[in-house]
């Protein structure tokens, strides 16, 4: 489809409206799921939504900026431990712990960004992989505080939010679902907003042609650092929420596998699409859930999905749809 130049402004306004409507629709459907779906699936979806926030954070760096990180587990774990440890060891209330988790993610991503962005391409992937490995080993080494692989179990009585006269019980499935949905909504609209802003367009421009951006006088390092920090902070928010919602903080979440999974989710759903990470996470979760009925070989499924996607659908589900049918998809 081709648009004449004068029409683009109006057409893009209408396109964004359609996009916003689509996102609102998706969130309403997820809200309705709370009442329609049986308890088991409500539980699964709550988990999926928090992990989808992780994937949304990953997508900002990988999809939009074109930087493939193999170490996002460290940001997720920074949020997880950043929120879990004050709650467990220092008896902080939930909200300050949650904020501490987010802040540790921001701080870590700033440090890692400054260091890792000195490299490009393959070196960037390996450097992030190695920093994440150091973080994982650290979570095993400082057993006194983290209790290593055994992890910290956050008891139900400390996972209560008392805000003014309003009480939120994070152990109750329905309120957990609503909290996860709220988080997902915020993350989705942040991405949607970023995509519209000049900053978001700069990210895409860097992905497409970094040298040209530099030549045009943009401070490429600063923009990329911004992407790393936003991406890391969103990932840490997901980590903090995961720990608080499901009451477990363990070093397993810092392992390399949790750096690969968001990559897989984003790839399947469609890199550089706002809804792709959510779709990919739901898809992969249910593929493993359904196949677990007759095989325990879920590593095979993850591996097979990675290879199949990269070979045959490198743009993912929504990326392919956008190319073929729905060009207005953000």
């Amino acid at each position: 489809m081709s648009l004449d130049a004068p029409q683009t402004g109006m057409a893009s306004a209408r396109r964004l409206d359609k996009a916003t409507a689509l996102h609102v629709g998706v969130i309403l459907v997820l809200f309705a799921c709370l009442f329609i779906l049986p308890d088991y699936h409500v539980g699964v979806l709550a988990r999926v939504m928090v992990l989808a926030v992780f994937a949304i954070g990953y997508n900002i760096l990988f999809g939009y900026t074109g930087l493939l990180s193999l170490g996002h587990a460290m940001f997720f774990a920074a949020g997880l431990y950043g929120a879990g440890m004050p709650l467990y060891h220092l008896d902080w209330p939930v909200m300050p712990s949650f904020l501490a988790g987010i802040a540790s993610g921001t701080a870590l991503s700033l440090i890692i960004g400054v260091l890792a962005l000195r490299t490009t391409g393959v070196a960037f992937m390996i450097v992030t992989l190695m920093f994440a490995q150091v973080a994982y080993l650290a979570s095993l080494y400082f057993t006194t505080y983290t209790r290593g692989e055994e992890g910290l179990v956050l008891q139900p009585e400390i996972r209560q939010v008392d805000f003014l006269s309003f009480n939120l019980d994070l152990t109750d499935p329905a309120s957990r679902y609503m909290a996860a949905l709220t988080l997902l909504t915020i993350a989705l609209f942040i991405t949607l907003r970023i995509v519209k802003t000049p900053f978001g367009r700069n990210l895409v421009a860097i992905r497409e042609n970094e040298e040209r951006m530099r030549m045009l006088g943009y401070n490429v390092f600063q923009i990329k650092l911004g992407a790393v920090v936003i991406s890391g902070t969103i990932a840490a928010t997901a980590g903090a929420a995961y720990g608080l919602f499901f009451g477990y903080v363990g070093s397993g979440f810092a392992a390399i596998q949790y750096s690969i999974l968001p990559l897989l989710w984003v790839l399947i759903g469609g890199a550089a699409t706002t809804l792709g990470p959510l779709l990919g996470t739901i898809f992969m979760f249910y593929v493993i859930d359904i196949t677990s009925g007759f095989t325990s070989a879920w590593l095979l499924i993850v591996g097979g999905a990675l290879i199949t996607t990269i070979l045959f659908f490198p743009k993912g589900i929504l990326g392919t749809l956008r190319e073929k049918r729905i060009p207005w998809l953000p």
Partner: protein, 293 residues
């Protein structure tokens, strides 16, 4: 035991680690050097080598040395063939794009791990050493087999060096590494060279695994440490530099052996990984490498 002999023992253990590490890192370095592909599944080729060695030695009856020699020949060939097939079916179709190949080799890693878990099981199983000689030093006795591993590794490294620098095949490989398009213009079947190099890289890992498996048991997750250590070695040594890789393997193997004896192995790994990440950040061409063209 006094400090001196203790240090000697730690150094010997470090040398064994270094010998095996040098082989597997050489494979990784070869693949990266010629194909510019980061093979994340390299550790799994190592693991497959060990598992196949276990299968072969259990199948062959008679003296353990017989089974071991058969394994030393058969295992690298099977692993090489698997790698060859993977290259043809997956990597070639991705046109060796760096990002896509990393994602695909991560996929291969999971598939191999799962296959090993499903068909071989979660247990660690031993392979009997081909001979059992203790060499008595004044302070302690040391396994003769471990010394043989060091010697065998030196032989394989020399052979690789000879092939790369003194034969026609080596020249073709170096030409492809230097300038792929010009090599193709001169009639070199670049495509086949890539497949061969990928198989050869996997075979080096498999040889390393067969050598180590009488010392360290075969297990489906055993590919993780060699992968990370090989990465470290290749980065320190400079990507694609053979001499640098061997020196770095010695450095990392020895220091890993010695630090692990005196400190916590987790701490040793943590510090080593952090240092290497810093090397990559501040000196991307490696400590011994030259600046890439």
């Amino acid at each position: 035991m006094a400090f001196g002999p203790f240090l000697l023992l730690a150094s010997l253990e470090g040398l064994v680690t270094a010998a095996v590490l040098a082989l597997s890192a050489l494979g990784l370095s070869l693949v990266f050097g010629v194909m510019r592909v980061v093979n994340v599944a390299h550790g799994e080729f190592f693991m497959l080598g060990a598992v196949i060695a276990w299968a072969v030695t259990t199948a062959v009856s008679g003296h353990p040395a017989l089974g071991f020699v058969v394994a030393l020949v058969v295992s690298p060939f099977i692993v090489g063939a698997i790698a060859f097939v993977c290259e043809r079916l997956v990597l070639r179709r991705l046109h060796y794009d760096p990002e896509s190949t990393i994602v695909a080799t991560i996929g291969l890693l999971y598939i191999f791990q799962q296959l090993a878990l499903s068909f071989y099981g979660a247990d660690a199983r031993p392979v009997e050493a081909p001979f059992n000689i203790r060499i008595q030093l004044p302070w302690f006795g040391y396994s003769g087999y471990k010394l043989a591993v060091i010697a065998a590794s030196i032989l394989v490294i020399l052979a690789t060096w000879f092939v790369l620098t003194r034969t026609r095949i080596g020249m073709i490989m170096r030409a492809t590494q230097y300038d792929r398009e010009t090599a193709q213009a001169f009639g070199i079947p670049v495509d086949l060279v890539y497949a061969g190099v990928f198989a050869a890289g996997a075979m080096l890992a498999a040889i390393a695994a067969v050598l180590i498996v009488p010392i360290q048991q075969a297990h489906y997750l055993m590919g993780r440490d060699p992968l990370l250590l090989s990465f470290i070695v290749v980065i320190i040594g400079g990507l694609g530099s053979l001499r640098g890789t061997v020196i770095a393997a010695l450095l990392i193997g020895l220091s890993d052996g010695i630090i692990s004896v005196f400190f916590s192995p987790t701490l040793a790994k943590m510090i080593a990984t952090l240092l290497v990440a810093m090397v990559l950040v501040f000196r991307p061409q490696g400590l011994f490498g030259t600046v890439a063209r």
